[in-house]
């Protein structure tokens, strides 16, 4: 009984420390200045149904791109947050995209996605794909991508839920630009041509 109470208390402390209070409006975000943002490398990966998911097709939306794995306990803390973000902001042109780096692929990922009731798209990553993002060698690694497809924030390791939410809302509050609606235009501009 005592142990059970202690576990509940410990879990509550973890949630309070990492999750923070998310009901109030954020006052500060840590997104990069627009001039410092680089275009997120594009990729096409398969989801569990075999359908192709191409990052640049999400242009115009704010995207939380999360590299994770089933063997990563800190990743498991964040996943319920991402589920709540997807639910709360999907109608405001926001999407979470999970990239699993599990070596055994869908064998581990499919039951995990079902058990956690993940409500956003999950694809299987590859060595080649993680290399274009700088060789993702610590999980979780999360990129917050603006409507123009540029990386506005990068997080390696577990951060507070509120920090993510501040960044998402900061980007969602900016109106879409013409570049965000035309992927080809944004690509040409960011390539400096």
């Amino acid at each position: 009984m005592f142990l059970q109470s202690r576990r509940v208390f410990s879990a509550a402390v973890v949630v309070l420390l990492l999750g923070g209070c998310t009901t109030s409006r954020p006052s500060k975000a840590t997104v990069k200045d627009e001039k410092d943002r680089k275009l997120a490398p594009d990729f096409t990966l398969k989801d569990s149904t075999g359908a192709s998911v191409k990052l640049s097709q999400l242009r115009g939306q704010v995207v939380l791109l999360n590299f994770w794995a089933t063997w990563c306990p800190p990743c498991k803390i964040e996943i319920p947050w991402f589920i709540s973000f997807q639910k709360a902001y999907q109608d405001r042109d926001f999407a979470v995209l999970g990239v699993s780096l599990d070596e055994d692929g869908w064998k581990s990922v499919t039951p995990f996605v079902a058990a956690e009731k993940i409500n956003y798209k999950v694809v299987l990553g590859s060595e080649e794909m993680s290399q274009i993002y700088g060789g993702v060698d610590a999980l979780p690694t999360t990129f917050i991508i603006d409507r123009e497809g540029r990386i506005a924030a990068t997080h390696v390791g577990l951060v507070a839920k509120k920090e993510y939410e501040n960044e998402i809302l900061n980007l969602l509050d900016r109106p879409p630009t013409s570049a965000s609606l035309d992927p080809r235009r944004a690509t040409v501009q960011d390539a400096g041509r």
Partner: protein, 146 residues
């Protein structure tokens, strides 16, 4: 250039190191024991050989078949570590520790020097992040005698 532009902070450095094992002398038909010494960097831990959850990747030391046959691998007693990302303690190794192996030496083994090849698979984390599972090569020099 593209890689540098998007590279997050690098954690590629080795967080687990294996001290080169000392050469052992193995008499044909006998049993010999050796210990491999490991060191995990400060703040890091690795799942023990008996992790707390099925989804966690256990530490495993395995040896190639040959004149010396691995009969038993003994891991240290794990610690039950408390971390901010988990509400229950996790079974882990940290700091300096040894893994012992007992080998049976074939009676028909040819005398002389040889190397037994092993592999250590592990997965390490700190309080905020985890590194992908890794497999390190282990080379045990052996002198087989009659």
């Amino acid at each position: 250039m593209l890689l540098l532009a998007f590279a997050p902070q690098s954690f590629a450095q080795m967080v687990l190191t294996i001290a080169p094992p000392a050469k052992i002398t193995a008499k044909t038909g006998s049993t010999v024991e050796t210990k491999i010494h490991l060191h995990l960097g400060a703040e890091y831990h690795a799942n023990s050989n008996t992790p707390s959850d099925d989804f966690l990747i256990p530490m495993r030391l395995t040896w190639s078949a040959g004149p010396l046959e691995s009969a038993e691998v003994t891991y240290p007693k794990p610690e039950m570590g408390k971390y901010s990302f988990s509400d229950k303690p996790l079974s882990v190794f940290s700091g300096d520790f040894d893994i012992a192996t007992k080998f049976k030496v074939a009676a028909t083994a040819n005398p002389g020097p040889m190397v037994v090849a092993g592999k250590l698979r592990y997965q390490a984390c700190n309080d905020r992040m985890c590194l992908p599972p890794k497999t390190l090569d282990v080379s045990l020099p052996v002198d087989i005698v009659k």
